[in-house]
């Protein structure tokens, strides 16, 4: 899965193939989950753990809404996800996540995680089997300054939404060529001020 953050949008994408070993279990499984109005998570790894994690976060979000009368913001959800993952530090969720959405000011934000909750706010990220092929290419195209630099610099990409979507499609098409676990169909979720929309693109079926 991949996510890219822009000035006023965020693109989150994942393929729809579920596989085990050298076999394909299904060509049409969504790895993207909407957690809040402006916050979407894509995960790769062990899908049963991913599903359990999604349900946990959805339940916690409902509790938050009851208590605060509003939806959780993306940075708040990011911290919640990190805590939830670390809670199971000694029997982890086998799930590699990327969280994307709009922050409180409407700017795109992407958070990338490891299996036990270590996370970082970045301008773009990829996780999963194809990431070894995808990440270097994203680095080449979107290299953003480190969030640790001073003075603080914007991590979001200067690309416009259409260009970012195009980049994501290219990147998945390339990964499908060489990675056996990536392919079938690409699901893209685009979040911007107008709301959330979904797009699909066919990928190689082999």
């Amino acid at each position: 899965c991949v996510a890219i953050a822009g000035a006023d949008y965020c693109v989150i994408a994942a393929d729809t193939r579920m596989s085990t070993g050298y076999n394909i279990l299904t060509r049409d499984y969504s790895k993207i989950c909407k957690l809040a109005d402006k916050c979407v998570m894509a995960s790769s790894g062990f899908q049963a753990d991913v599903r359990a994690l999604q349900k946990q976060l959805a339940a916690r979000h409902l509790i938050y809404q009851h208590q605060h009368n509003k939806q959780m913001s993306c940075p708040a959800m990011a911290q919640l996800l990190s805590n939830t993952l670390y809670y199971k530090r000694f029997f982890p969720y086998y799930s590699f996540n990327v969280l994307g959405g709009l922050d409180n000011e409407g700017k795109g934000c992407v958070f990338t995680y490891d299996a036990v909750g270590s996370y970082e706010k970045v301008g773009y990220s990829s996780q999963g089997s194809g990431s070894t092929l995808i990440m270097p290419f994203l680095d080449n195209q979107l290299k953003s300054p480190s969030p640790l630099l001073l003075p603080a610099q914007d991590a979001v990409t200067p690309l416009v939404e259409a260009e970012a979507i195009d980049l994501v499609k290219t990147v998945f098409a390339s990964a499908s060529e060489r990675d056996i676990y990536t392919g079938d169909k690409l699901e893209l979720v685009i979040i911007n001020a107008a709301g959330i929309r979904r797009e699909y693109m066919e990928l190689r079926k082999d």
């Binding site: 349900k55 339940a59 409902l62 509790i63 009851h66 605060h68 009368n69």
Partner: protein
């Protein structure tokens, strides 16, 4: 008389076979400001009278959303009501998590009743001083239940609790046979009229009442003040045109379009700690 000898704690029976502490808890419910509920085959409407301690403070929140398909209106000690709502919300979330489907209302009500019963049989606890009108929709249709502090619960077509609720009950008793087939809008109108009965002379304005609806295809939500005021205006106008208890049909048609109740949970989050118990 003897009443005062056997009422010191909840675990003492009176010679007449009564638990006075539990009955006193039910009195607390009668002291709270009114809450009413009515249901049709597909919708349930809850209404309550907003009581503020003084003109300076905001009113207490008496209607709580428990889940998309269940809501509750309380009368009595609102603090107890808040705690019970939190319990109900947790139960709904846990059930959905395990079974991937909404908690049937009847089950929730039984769990609530059992929880209340525990407090009537422990010497170190006191009964909850709040009556709950639980409104919900599940596979078996629309339901309205009343949960007492005693641990009893009953299903109703329409009911009213709290102070001056008898007036509302009388109004509802006259009309309840029509409720099953009522449209959602008529049900809301009846709810507001029932609330008006409890006010006994005070002017009916949207700031003095809160209305919430749950129904088929309509998740539980509180109607916003503007919508409520519009409905009130329709029958105030009707009264001026010397057209007493019947609903004005033309205005109803216009109202239906305007009343797409949005999820604005009015009452605000500032209420939670603001005012003490609702007595």
């Amino acid at each position: 008389m003897f009443r005062n000898q056997y009422d010191t704690d909840v675990t003492t029976w009176s010679p007449a076979g009564r638990l006075f502490q539990v009955e006193y808890a039910m009195e607390a419910v009668k002291q709270g400001s009114a809450a009413i509920g009515l249901r049709s085959k597909t919708h349930v409407v809850l209404g309550c009278v907003n009581k503020a301690n003084s003109e300076l403070s905001s009113h207490q929140k008496k209607i709580f959303e428990v889940d998309d398909h269940i809501g509750v209106a309380i009368a009595g000690l609102t603090a107890d009501g808040r705690v019970l709502s939190r319990y109900m919300r947790n139960e709904c979330i846990n059930y959905s998590f395990t079974y991937e489907s909404p908690l049937p209302v009847g089950r929730l009500v039984v769990q609530l009743a059992d929880k209340a019963q525990v407090c009537t049989q422990r010497s170190w606890k006191r009964p909850y001083g709040v009556g709950l009108l639980v409104a919900g929709l599940d596979e078996s249709g629309a339901h309205l239940y009343y949960n007492c502090p005693s641990g009893n619960y009953f299903e109703y077509q329409a009911f009213a609790i709290g102070s001056r609720s008898q007036a509302a009950k009388t109004y509802l008793e006259r009309r309840f046979e029509n409720f099953t087939g009522s449209s959602r809008d008529d049900l809301v109108k009846d709810a507001i009229m029932a609330i008006r009965e409890t006010l006994q002379g005070e002017t009916l304005k949207s700031s003095i009442c809160t209305i919430a609806v749950v129904g088929a295809g309509e998740p539980f939500h509180v109607l916003d003040q503007g919508t409520v005021q519009q409905i009130i205006d329709t029958f105030e106008t009707a009264a001026e045109q010397e057209d007493p208890a019947t609903e004005p049909d033309a205005a109803t048609g216009q109202e239906a379009a305007a009343e797409q109740g949005t999820a604005a949970d009015h009452g605000g989050s500032t209420d939670e700690g603001a005012a003490p118990m609702d007595i």
